[in-house]
């Protein structure tokens, strides 16, 4: 497990953003003269690592500076901790812009909270300091609950950093036609909108997301996003409740959502509400893969890309494994004992760190 929050001492009134630079093992000349105002450079390591920058000093505890070089931290001086907003060495960086949400999904991995702390200014500073060509995830809660701030954040950062890409999760309940000019002004190639849709039937979708009329509102938004030219990754978490309807959903995609860029069928992550309802929700795709396979083939036969996220390769029939790339974020990826000396391990995304020991897959095991 890679820690995303570390202990930092700093005496300041408000939270602030810094970028850690070590320059260890490099020749003296390597240190660029023009450091950013928010860069802090490693000076000493004893029982803590001391960094100094324009604004003064901070002390980092409990982790070796070499593991956090280039990271962008949001330091919270009152709590003596900092969140690693951007980990320079990882492709999976996500900004949690709010914890509020207008839906209450049965499998929500991060159950929503009522309070909201507006961190957009810090996120903007952090994005500007991110590694070149980084893709930054935006998630929540529901990010478009703060649609104005979000769209401004995108316009600002994408304007100043033309190399940055964004992957934004949204339940598509809050767009309306007035947003069209702004949406069309965004550079479409650099944003992918991750939109969850769980079932062709409105009742089942509404029940899963815990909100009446959510499906109808989402269907409207998908039309809007298509006309805005947005790139859409449609996401369907596979559960007992919607597994039977997968082929019908596939047919709905080919006839009514042909404009999506890709369809991601995702295995369940056992955390948050999903953990509490695991037995009721988890669908063992290794035992019943037929519906999943036929759904994938139907959309792919129509030229729409479809993939399996979070599926351990051994639980997927061989002829579909090329559609199951490793997708579990590095910081929460783990392997089981059964994975030892499996020949296809490095192509496999493994399991979530907190996947239940009784993994629930009938067919699982090292592939020779």
């Amino acid at each position: 497990m890679i820690p995303l929050r570390i202990k930092v001492d700093a005496n300041a009134d408000e939270p602030f953003v810094v970028r850690l630079r070590s320059f260890e093992g490099s020749v003296a000349g390597d240190i660029p003269i023009a450091l950013d105002a928010r860069d802090v450079v490693l000076e000493r390591v004893s029982d803590a690592a001391e960094y100094r920058g324009e604004g003064g000093c901070i002390r980092v505890h409990g982790i070796d500076p070499s593991q956090i070089d280039g990271d962008v931290l949001l330091v919270n001086p009152h709590r003596g901790s900092a969140d690693r907003l951007v980990r320079a060495s990882s492709p999976h960086n996500t900004f949690l812009v709010t914890e509020r949400c207008d839906q209450l999904c049965v499998m929500c991995s991060q159950p929503p909270k009522a309070h909201h702390v507006d961190l957009f200014a810090h996120f903007e500073a952090a994005a500007l300091l991110a590694p070149e060509g980084a893709t930054i995830g935006i998630s929540g809660g529901e990010p478009t609950l703060y649609k104005e701030e979000l769209l401004n954040f995108l316009v600002q950062t994408m304007g100043k950093r033309t190399d940055l890409r964004f992957h934004i999760l949204t339940n598509g309940q809050h767009f309306d036609e007035l947003d069209m000019p702004m949406m069309r002004s965004l550079e479409r190639e650099r944003i992918v909108w991750g939109v969850p849709l769980y079932c062709r039937s409105p009742e089942v979708h509404d029940e899963i997301v815990g909100k009446q009329g959510a499906h109808a509102r989402l269907v409207e938004t998908l039309g809007f996003l298509c006309r805005a030219g947005a790139q859409i990754e449609l996401r369907t978490v596979l559960m007992k409740r919607n597994a039977p309807g997968l082929t019908a959903l596939a047919r709905f995609i080919t006839s009514t959502l042909p404009f999506i860029q890709t369809w991601a069928i995702m295995q369940l992550e056992s955390i948050g509400y999903a953990r509490q309802n695991w037995q009721r929700l988890f669908h063992d795709s290794s035992a019943e893969f037929d519906g999943v396979g036929r759904a994938l083939d139907l959309v792919r036969s129509r030229g729409i890309e479809a993939q399996l996220y979070n599926f351990p390769l051994c639980t997927v029939p061989a002829s579909y494994r090329h559609l199951a790339p490793p997708t579990i974020s590095d910081w929460k990826r783990a392997y089981l004992d059964e994975c030892r000396d499996c020949t296809i391990k490095d192509g496999c995304g493994g399991f979530f760190e907190w996947h239940p020991k009784k993994h629930g897959y009938a067919k699982l095991g090292a592939q020779s």
């Binding site: 269907v219 409207e220 998908l222 039309g223 298509c226 006309r227 082929t247 596939a250 047919r251 709905f252 080919t254 006839s255 009514t256 959502l257 042909p258 404009f259 396979g293 036929r294 994938l296 083939d297 139907l298 792919r300 036969s301 129509r302 030229g303 029939p317 002829s319 579909y320």
Partner: protein, 469 residues
């Protein structure tokens, strides 16, 4: 509920195939057709049509937007010029009977690029905006001017970010210089292999010595560079077709799994062949039987081969935006993404168009490497190069999947406004799409396996073939 216009066509088994302008298709029956035409669709009809994306509530709602999207993706759009076919020489060291290009003999003079032409061609290529290029060398036999090939390749490698080269060669003579040229990773071979040895000799090499040369060279190239290097296609004479099972074995043992059956095209020297009556019907029969042979063989061997054009038409039916094959897209914009540079530096939209000028039938040239592209003439060609408003196509169920080929029409009939059902292009494509839909709606396991493979998926279940009764 508004239902988008549906076109229809009866199938041999008494059913009727329907399709809308965006290519959404399904199969139903006379009863549904009558209800649809009489505005008396029942609830189950309406539900089925809505599910299939054939209807919408009001303009700009999701169903409407989805249909508009699919309709737009069905129309091809002009691209950036990034694919050139270069003809450095018309001379050839073979004398194939069906030669489409009316070659010049190997010793003839005045059929190669002069030094000036080469210079002008390179200048023209240099002036292209594209960052990536694909160059195909045709002829005559391009290997007779290996020197020109080398110079063009060197230039393109430095001028373009990515460059790929295909040499259409008869593989008759392969010296060390030619082999060295083909060795490069960015260079591929396209050759002809007319099925079985006997047919190949009868149609192309005429003497067994030359046939041996060809097969030895083919073995050598495939053995040395691996199957990915070589693609081949058989030209089929309707009067004397090859032994198709042998053809498939031959292709498979050279590691070539995609066979592109091409009928002899009666231009150039081939024109002098007597072709007998009703060539089209006999060609369609041969093609349909070949598909059935493939289905059975694939099922029997478990090693899947395909007929390239059938697969392309299958994908045209199933998918949007399958415009990567110039024979079948709509509109078929000329000089949009590719063109031909003849041995005298003149530019042509296709190799058939070059042929028409060569035999003095009609001048379809569209400029030259020195004067550049004749945009006015290209625009004139493009006006008739779409099927959306043709009086026959507007009623045809296959219109969204089909294409148009005005140059083929001119070459055969001297006009482009011949009623479609009377043209070779329409007759041939109607037959191919009939076969595609026959297979899509057949239930037997062998057909399903091949269809899954040809469509690039792992299984083919009934939802692939929407039906309503």
């Amino acid at each position: 509920m508004n239902v988008w216009p549906l076109k229809f066509r009866e199938t041999p088994d008494g059913g009727i195939v329907f399709a809308d302008d965006a290519g959404g298709f399904f199969k139903s029956d006379e009863g549904f057709l009558r209800r649809y035409s009489n505005d008396s669709l029942n609830a189950s009809d309406l539900a089925f049509l809505r599910d299939g994306g054939h209807s919408f509530g009001k303009e700009f709602d999701l169903p409407w937007t989805s249909f508009a999207y699919r309709w737009s993706r069905r129309q091809s759009r002009p691209q950036q010029l990034s694919y050139v076919i270069l003809v450095p020489t018309l001379r050839c060291n073979l004398a194939c009977g069906y030669c489409q290009v009316s070659r010049a003999s190997e010793a003839a003079r005045g059929f190669d690029w002069t030094a000036d032409t080469l210079r002008d061609v390179l200048a023209y290529l240099g002036s292209l905006e594209t960052t990536d290029i694909k160059v195909e060398f045709q002829g005559g036999e391009p290997m007779l001017r290996i020197d020109i090939l080398e110079e063009v390749r060197t230039f393109c490698r430095s001028r373009f970010r990515e460059a790929q080269f295909v040499v259409c060669t008869n593989l008759q003579c392969l010296g060390s210089r030619e082999l060295a040229f083909l060795e490069a990773d960015d260079t591929f071979v396209s050759t002809s292999l007319d099925g079985d040895r006997a047919t190949h000799e009868r149609q192309r090499t005429h003497e067994s010595v030359r046939t041996n040369e060809f097969f030895d060279n083919l073995d050598h190239v495939v053995g040395r560079f691996g199957p990915g290097k070589v693609s081949a296609l058989p030209t089929i004479d309707v009067d004397n077709p090859p032994d198709f099972p042998a053809l498939l074995d031959n292709f498979e043992n050279y590691g070539i799994h995609s066979v592109y059956l091409r009928p002899v095209n009666h231009q150039g020297f081939a024109r002098k062949l007597k072709q007998g009556t009703n060539v089209l019907a006999r060609w369609n029969r041969i093609h349909a039987d070949f598909i059935d042979l493939l289905v059975d063989r694939n099922c029997r061997t478990g090693r899947f081969m395909e007929e390239y054009y059938f697969s392309q038409c299958l994908k045209r039916v199933l998918q949007l935006g399958t415009d990567n094959h110039v024979d079948i897209r709509n509109p078929n914009f000329f000089a949009s993404d590719y063109l031909v540079v003849d041995h005298d530096g003149r530019l042509y939209p296709t190799d058939e168009a070059r042929m028409q000028s060569r035999i003095g039938r009609i001048d379809l040239s569209i400029g030259s490497v020195t004067d550049g592209l004749d945009l006015a003439k290209v625009a004139l060609l493009n006006t008739s190069s779409l099927n959306n408003f043709d009086p026959d196509c507007i009623h045809c169920v296959y219109q969204p999947f089909c294409g148009t080929d005005v140059i083929d029409d001119v070459s055969r009939y001297g006009r482009v406004d011949v009623p479609r059902p009377d043209t070779w292009f329409c007759g041939r494509h109607t037959a191919v799409f009939d076969k595609v839909f026959e297979l899509i709606y057949r239930r037997d396991e062998a057909v399903r396996q091949s269809l899954a493979h040809w469509a690039g998926v792992s299984s083919w279940a009934e939802e692939m073939a929407p039906a309503h009764s």
